[in-house]
């Protein structure tokens, strides 16, 4: 696969990433406004959540609808440990990630053994369960009122509450970059190939010795870890938490980012998240449109699924064509044809993935 895209394309991609990184670092110099910086920070958080969802939903092909609940677990685990146990907020953020991973492991217990719609149902039911728990334990979590006055991070000699969110911006940006690097590394590793193989041709991948339950468990736990950290940062930054994070509308908002960006690329959902956060927050500030914007989000989801099943990015040629190609080869033909006549690149992937995991 790499050989096909070597040379020019690859170097132009490196350039693009470099330019984006520098642009990201320079944003606060040009953007002094506290509210605009806030939008950047929130969009980075959503970017992490959407991109890490792509790992379990897009790459592993697990119909996981508990991802936003894992984010919520991160929010509340961090908030509660930092506020009630007095744990250092930096460490509490990490606890948020670990707690989200633990929640994912619990969900994975039934999910790795289930098929199709049952995975959807169990993950949705789990989200509702966590929300119920948060609302019921109101003496700890604040219930529907939400949790307030969560302590925030600090560094020696630096107060994050000053400088118009400058410090928060760089923490969020750092988390986003780290997450993206980790996710890209994961999906291109042997592990990433093996979960793709399981998604594209489960029987064949299993017959080549890929442990299906274990790989799916790992995919869920890993994707939950990043979203949990993002949740931890979210609550440390906003200093309040509300059970709204578990709401169906939050799920649809983040899902729309994944869909608009196109699955199985990591970058797609990430940039869609940046883009959609600005649009959605912009609409929310219009009078009485806080609810109406979710109607637009829902419409956007349907339009994208109807007309741009590979994500809006697939409508743009040039640089993004690489991602589109990758997906086109996967989605071509019906399920039957896929099994009988796999495209050569997928076959290579699978054989490679299978032999790697067989060796281990």
């Amino acid at each position: 696969m790499m050989a096909l895209h070597g040379g020019k394309l690859r170097s132009s991609k490196v350039w693009l990433i470099g330019v984006l990184l520098i642009a990201g670092l320079l944003v606060p110099i040009f953007v002094q406004d506290s509210y605009l910086r806030h939008l950047f920070i929130i969009s980075f958080v959503y970017g992490i959540v959407a991109a890490s969802w792509d790992l379990s939903l897009g790459y592993a092909g697990i119909f996981n609808f508990a991802h936003v609940a894992f984010f919520g677990v991160g929010v509340y685990a961090t908030g509660l440990t930092a506020k009630l146990l007095g744990i250092d907020p930096w460490a509490a953020m990490l606890i948020g990630g670990v707690a989200a991973s633990a929640a994912a492991a619990i969900v994975a217990l039934p999910v790795v053994r289930l098929q199709g719609v049952y995975v959807v149902l169990v993950t949705f039911a789990f989200s509702q369960l966590v929300m119920q728990l948060v609302i019921n334990q109101s003496n700890l979590t604040g219930g529907t009122q939400g949790m307030v006055r969560v302590p925030t991070i600090w560094l020696p000699g630096y107060n994050f509450l000053r400088d118009y969110k400058l410090g928060y911006y760089y923490v969020a940006f750092g988390l986003l970059v780290t997450t993206t690097v980790c996710l890209r590394w994961l999906v291109r590793s042997d592990f990433g190939l093996s979960i793709k193989a399981l998604r594209d041709n489960e029987d064949y991948a299993v017959s080549r010795g890929i442990p299906i339950a274990l790989q799916r468990l790992k995919a869920l736990v890993a994707s939950a870890f990043f979203t949990g950290i993002a949740g931890g940062f979210y609550v440390i930054y906003l200093r309040v938490a509300s059970p709204e994070v578990f709401d169906f509308s939050t799920v649809s908002l983040i899902l729309s980012m994944v869909l608009v960006g196109g699955t199985s690329s990591i970058y797609g959902p990430l940039f869609a998240a940046l883009f959609l956060t600005f649009i959605s927050e912009g609409l929310a500030s219009i009078n009485n449109f806080a609810e109406g914007r979710f109607m637009l989000v829902a419409l956007a989801m349907i339009v994208v699924l109807l007309f741009f099943p590979k994500g809006l990015a697939s409508a743009l040629p040039a640089i993004l064509a690489r991602n589109a190609n990758q997906k086109r080869s996967r989605q071509s033909g019906t399920a039957l044809a896929d099994r009988a006549l796999m495209t050569s690149s997928d076959k290579e992937n699978e054989a490679e993935a299978a032999s790697h995991s067989g060796v281990r």
Binding site: F63, F65, I106, L109, P110, R113, L114, Q115, G116, V117, Y118, V120, L121, V122, F124, A125, F126, Q128, L129, Q132, L133, N136, Q137, F248, S249, V251, S252, L255, S256, L259, E291, G292, F294, M295, V297, A298, L299, M301, I302, L305, L306, P309, Q331, T334, A335, D338
Partner: protein, 294 residues
């Protein structure tokens, strides 16, 4: 100690709960067995049906009778059901991941309608007038006449649904399509028409459930969310394969919930149910009563 009046209270409230769940879950199950898709908008259809009935019947609305309200609500639900099938389900029948895609489109439809309801009717609480007024004593427990009505109407509606599916030509066609759409098409069944009828029927069932529950609960735009989640759990327990399994699971769920609320309290009941769910799925991944569904 479990005395007979406690037992009576648990049984009666369990059957009231179960009746609502059975109506709710049977509509979901009908669409699943026929089209092989899971309709997340089912809960909000219930909300919409109740709100339409409220607008037609309530003094603050058009102030017509409840009978007309139910008729109007059912008629509009038929239209909405057809619209959903046409716009967000039909385009994906040939899609490889039809299940996943339609979960997303129906989820989007749910959000769209829920927020739309909020924009049209506002967030203020509303309540439908009960169809039956007064109280009824069953065994040693007193419940409102409306709740008693639900206990009676649910089996009647479900029985009618079963008769329709078992005896009528259209109903048999729906089951044939559910079993094998290609074979059904080969012997001359109009599959496309039956898909529409199924969706409309399911939407009407949801709307009627909403009208029935709308007078014992308060109407909010999120009115249908909790029943939807319960219906999710029921179809996991019962397996999605058959209407019968779903209905049995719905009543069991109602009784279980009533018992759990009594023994572990309303706070822990949902968690206990979920724990039980995980255990069931670990032992029988196809559901407690279900067959393997792929």
């Amino acid at each position: 100690m479990i005395t007979s009046d406690i037992l009576s209270a648990i049984l009666v409230s369990g059957i009231v709960l179960g009746s609502g769940y059975a109506l709710m879950a049977s509509g979901l199950s009908l669409v699943w067995t026929t089209l092989g898709i899971f309709n997340f908008a089912h809960g909000v259809l219930m909300t919409l049906g109740a709100y339409i009935a409220w607008t037609v019947s309530d003094a603050a609305g058009l102030n017509f009778g409840l009978g007309l309200a139910i008729a109007v609500s059912a008629a509009i639900m038929i239209g909405v059901g057809i619209l959903i099938e046409r716009v967000i389900v039909r385009p994906f029948y040939d899609h490889r991941d039809i299940l996943l895609v339609t979960v997303m489109t129906t989820l989007a439809a749910m959000i769209f309608m829920q927020k739309g309801i909020q924009l049209i009717w506002g967030a203020r609480l509303k309540q439908l007038a009960p169809i039956a007024t007064g109280n009824v004593q069953i065994w040693q427990t007193t419940i409102s006449a409306q709740e008693a009505l639900i206990i009676v109407v649910a089996p009647l509606l479900l029985g009618a649904l079963w008769l329709f599916l078992d005896r009528s030509r259209t109903g048999r066609g729906i089951r044939a399509v559910g079993q094998n759409p290609d074979a059904a098409r080969l012997i001359g069944i109009d599959v496309s028409r039956l898909f529409i009828i199924t969706f409309a029927l399911s939407a009407v069932l949801a709307g009627l459930t909403g009208v029935l529950l709308g007078s014992i609960r308060l109407l909010t735009p999120e009115f249908g969310s909790e029943p939807l989640v319960k219906a999710l759990i029921i179809v996991i327990f019962g397996g999605l394969g058959s209407l019968g399994g779903t209905v049995v699971a719905a009543y069991l769920m109602g009784l279980l919930e009533a018992a759990l609320v009594f023994f572990v309290g309303i706070y822990w009941a949902p968690s206990m149910i979920f724990l039980l769910l995980i255990l069931v799925l670990l032992i029988r991944p196809q559901g407690l009563l279900g067959k393997v569904v792929r």
